[in-house]
């Protein structure tokens, strides 16, 4: 694993008001004192900014990320507890308060710099810079599969190790023995030579008097006792008995309910409505016109929804009223052509000279792929509860970005950021959707009109039609093969580039590459969608690789292998997927296999899909998933994320289609935006490769590979090459001639 986290970036141990506080290398200034007031209950001692030791020797770990099913409220405390040699059974988790002091500097640093080795002399400066930077951009974000690989590695482990070091030193002074003679285990420190043993909590006062900076050493993976095991997730018991509180479950005194209809064509304004329109509706209190949307406040959601449906809501005309999906594709293609003609493509990768190769090449292959817009459709529809008073605003919401929400609300309400408090709740699905503060802004603006708290709940229709979408995209390829069937040139053009940076990049050894993109503005709002750009680029690049393999008359797995001679990590993952899926062994009639390989968010994934086409019906029987995340800190949780990401990606590949008609979203609910159900869900097997690399993400990296594994399997059994998703729009038929 990366070297530099083993260097201490704990700089100070600080005493304030009788409590021991350790700052985790934060400069300038020391924030430990301020943070203490936010999280310490009576009788508790804040041991450092990421944990507190309670009087009863239990330990509360402060986690700066939202729980949306990815298990982060368990895995991050595990990382801290292991380094601290704490007793896992007594660990409690507390989500960090939505406060500036928790702007997640570790994540900002991870994103902006990657796991680079920073000279120790610069560490204080670098951390100070990132605290300042992350405060300014309010980065308390849960996304980018980043919790473990950045917050865990940069903050949790170091904090745990620092806490252990300070307690050990306190014990050593208290007992007047060398620290080397002490043993730390299960939240106790013992001195075997004198047969003494005491809990962590008994050393807190002594530790508070230490002023020397801690210099924690992080464990090697051989020393882990908690990391790499799979204890039960801490959030699960409340999710089987109905007691888990999601945003939508918040109940406040005197609270009323609201629902809303925004302009179906994004950006159009609502015409004004007479307040008297609701006078005959019992239990309905108020119409609020938010310009782009009309909301109704009532005694309950159903009353508000009925009232909203009954109101004669009209929206102004907009410039986008006639736009359809084909217009958007036409514009993409036009902008792509213009970029090439004018030579102003945005360059992503440029290696060698594709021009020289294409001039001489005799075997040139071209293909164009498309994917549609996609909505998130989290199971919990968008909602937010707000209470606005003259001097401040409180909101209750499930958010992937609580500080960003607070900032947005402060701006629209013209309040100081300090006066906006976000109470983050469990998220009923995130997938990137809950990074966008739109519903929270609406809730605050609605609640501003009344003197009671308002819970705004979107209908499912609103949720589907007012999303921030994974964009539709077009990807064009041109490649050249030499007589031995090796790729000599790779030209790829698409529209837009967001995250992750590596999404359109190929691991294959191709000397001449030109990967480039063009921006092509539309009026459809864009948002992070599980695995973001990789959700489409793996489909594009891995489908095209399959096409090239076919043109080269080679087995798709062997063809990939031959191009991975300088990429041993990728090769290992690919080989494992092939081996576990019995690649090459005969399948029953009408069955097929497809393989894919893609790296995203630091984790390499290969998948093999095993499918059957009966008549025109597709059945996905089995998906074998091999993944190298460096190290899986909670292997069962990692497997669960691989399973989840595959079902999510398979749903999109088979059914996912948001289309645009008359400027608006055509689909509205689960009847026309279909989800994979249990009977269609394949058997999924996950195999983890442990390598010595910086830990990769878990929440997203399995999503990209499934679409190409599936469509490559379809080609394998039918000869039908699917170049546009979703699969449901294609007629399928197995072809017995190509089997064998």
């Amino acid at each position: 694993m990366g070297k530099w986290t083993r260097r201490a970036f704990i700089t100070t141990g600080v005493l304030t008001g009788g409590a021991l506080v350790i700052g985790v290398a934060i400069r300038p200034g020391n924030r430990a004192g301020k943070v203490k007031d936010l999280i310490a209950g009576e009788g508790d001692t804040v041991l450092n900014i990421w944990l507190k030791v309670n009087e009863d020797n239990t330990i509360t770990v402060i986690v700066p990320h939202a729980e949306m099913g990815q298990g982060v409220h368990t895995t991050l405390p595990m990382m801290l507890a292991d380094e601290m040699d704490a007793d896992w059974k007594t660990i409690k988790m507390l989500e960090a308060p939505g406060n500036k002091e928790y702007a997640n500097y570790a994540m900002g640093k991870g994103f902006l710099m990657g796991p680079k080795d920073i000279p120790s002399i610069l560490i204080g400066t670098v951390d100070g810079f990132f605290l300042t930077a992350t405060k300014q951009i309010s980065l308390q974000m849960t996304g980018g599969s980043s919790s473990v690989r950045f917050t865990g590695m940069f903050a949790m482990r170091v904090a745990g190790a620092a806490a252990r070091a300070v307690l050990l030193e306190a014990a050593s002074e208290e007992w007047e023995v060398a620290a080397e003679e002490l043993v730390v285990k299960n939240s106790t420190i013992s001195h075997p030579a004198s047969n003494r043993m005491a809990p962590f909590a008994s050393f807190v006062v002594k530790a508070a008097n230490l002023s020397q900076p801690a210099k924690p050493r992080l464990k090697t993976s051989e020393e882990f006792t908690i990391m790499g095991t799979s204890p039960p997730r801490l959030d699960i018991p409340s999710k089987v008995d109905g007691t888990a509180n999601f945003g939508i479950d918040v109940v406040l005194p005197n609270m009323k309910y609201a629902t809303i209809k925004a302009s179906p064509v994004f950006g159009a304004k609502a015409k004004s409505l007479e307040a008297s329109a609701i006078k005959d509706m019992p239990g309905v209190h108020k119409i609020v016109n938010l310009e782009g949307a009309i909301a109704v406040i009532a005694d309950g959601y159903w009353l508000a929804k009925n009232a909203l449906n009954a109101l004669p809501i009209e929206f102004d005309k907009s410039d986008h009223d006639t736009v359809g999906l084909n217009d958007i594709y036409d514009k993409y293609l036009r902008d792509m052509d213009i970029a090439i003609a004018e030579g102003n493509e945005e360059k992503d990768v440029k290696k060698g000279s594709i021009k020289d190769i294409f001039k001489e090449a005799t075997n040139v292959i071209e293909a164009e792929y498309r994917v549609p817009y996609l909505a998130h459709a989290t199971m919990e529809p968008m909602n937010c509860t707000a209470l606005v008073k003259e001097d401040g605003c409180e909101i209750w919401v499930g958010s992937q970005n609580p500080l960003g929400f607070a900032d947005s609300i402060a701006e629209v309400l013209d309040m100081d950021k300090e006066n906006v408090v976000v109470h983050n709740q469990y998220l009923g699905g995130g997938f990137g959707r809950r990074t966008v503060p739109d519903v929270a802004i609406q809730a605050a603006l609605i609640a501003k009109e009344v003197d009671y708290p308002v819970k705004l709940i979107w209908s499912r229709e609103e949720d589907i039609q007012q999303d921030h979408y994974r964009e539709a995209n077009v990807s064009r390829f041109k490649a050249a093969l030499d007589p031995k069937g090796m790729i000599t040139a790779w030209n790829n053009q698409f529209v837009f580039k967001h995250d992750p940076e590596e999404a359109p990049h190929i691991p294959y050894g191709v000397d001449n590459q030109f990967i480039h993109y063009t921006n092509s503005e539309t009026h459809i709002p864009w948002g992070y969608w599980r695995s973001v750009d990789s959700s489409m680029h793996a489909f594009f690049t891995e489908s095209f690789m399959d096409e090239l393999a076919n043109k080269a008359n080679k087995d798709p797995y062997q063809f990939r292998r031959e191009h991975l001679t300088n990429a041993p990590r990728f090769l290992k993952v690919l080989d494992l997927a092939a081996e576990k899926s019995n690649w090459g062994e005969a399948l029953p009639a009408n069955w097929g296999r497809g393989i894919s390989l893609h790296q995203s968010f630091g984790t390499i994934v290969a998948q093999v899909a095993e499918i059957e086409i009966v008549e025109d019906r597709l059945k996905v029987h089995r998906v074998v998933c091999a993944a190298d995340p460096g190290f899986a800190f909670h292997p069962d949780g990692f497997n669960a994320q691989m399973e989840s990401g595959i079902v999510f990606g398979l749903t999109a590949a088979l059914y996912g289609e948001i289309s645009i008609e008359n400027g608006a979203i055509k689909q509205s609910n689960f009847h026309d935006y279909q989800m994979l159900r249990m009977e269609e869900s394949p058997k999924i097997e996950t195999y983890i490769v442990t390598s010595d690399n910086w830990p990769g993400g878990a929440g997203e990296p399995s999503t990209p590979c499934i679409a190409p594994a599936l469509t490559n399997a379809i080609f394998n059994v039918s000869g039908i090459r699917i170049r546009e998703l979703p699969v449901k729009n294609h007629e399928l038929k197995a072809d017995s001639k190509i089997l064998g």
Binding site: M68, I236, V240, D241, M379, G428, I457, R460, E643
Partner: protein, 166 residues
């Protein structure tokens, strides 16, 4: 109107056309039952009426009067704690975001009350109305099988809600 929810009689004063879901959540504060789609497509709002799994977002309360309504808050056993399904859900570490799981458990509960040894096909059929966006389907299936086994191994005498022995 009177509603019998989890063996407790509640008096509610709302429009009889109001969907049961909103009465359960907003009037009675039983928030374990979730709103997902409002059109009976996702199963997040699943509760039981006289032991049958139904979609409470589409069921007006007038159709639930005089019936026994069971929600996620009512399936655990006062003496032995969690229901076998809930224990199995923890054992298999089923939930991720957890939002759909009340509905999943209520559908599974209705299945196991009729079928003590469900096949894969039985489970698919009973659970097909419940969407899980986190894709926990395979773990749900394992959870149902584990709970079925547990229930088969425990007492065969069932005490009904009204105290009669089945």
């Amino acid at each position: 109107m009177k509603l019998n929810i989890n063996n407790t009689i509640h008096e509610v004063d709302v429009d009889p056309a109001t969907p049961l879901l909103w009465v359960i959540r907003e009037q009675l504060g039983l928030t374990g039952t979730k709103f997902g789609c409002g059109i009976g497509q996702c199963g997040a709002c699943t509760v039981q009426l006289d032991g049958l799994a139904i979609r409470s977002c589409l069921t007006p309360i007038q159709a639930a009067a005089d019936k026994e309504i069971t929600t996620i808050e009512g399936i655990s056993d006062q003496d032995t704690g969690l229901h076998a399904l809930q224990k199995a859900w923890i054992e298999e570490q089923v939930p991720q975001c957890g939002y759909c799981q009340s509905g999943q458990i209520l559908s599974a509960h209705a299945l196991l009350s009729k079928t003590t040894s469900p096949t894969d096909e039985d489970i698919d059929m009973a659970m097909n109305g419940n969407i899980c966006r986190c894709g926990t389907y395979s773990r749900i299936k394992s959870g149902i099988k584990l709970a079925a086994e547990e229930l088969r191994n425990t007492s065969t005498i069932k005490i009904l809600n009204n105290g009669e022995v089945d």
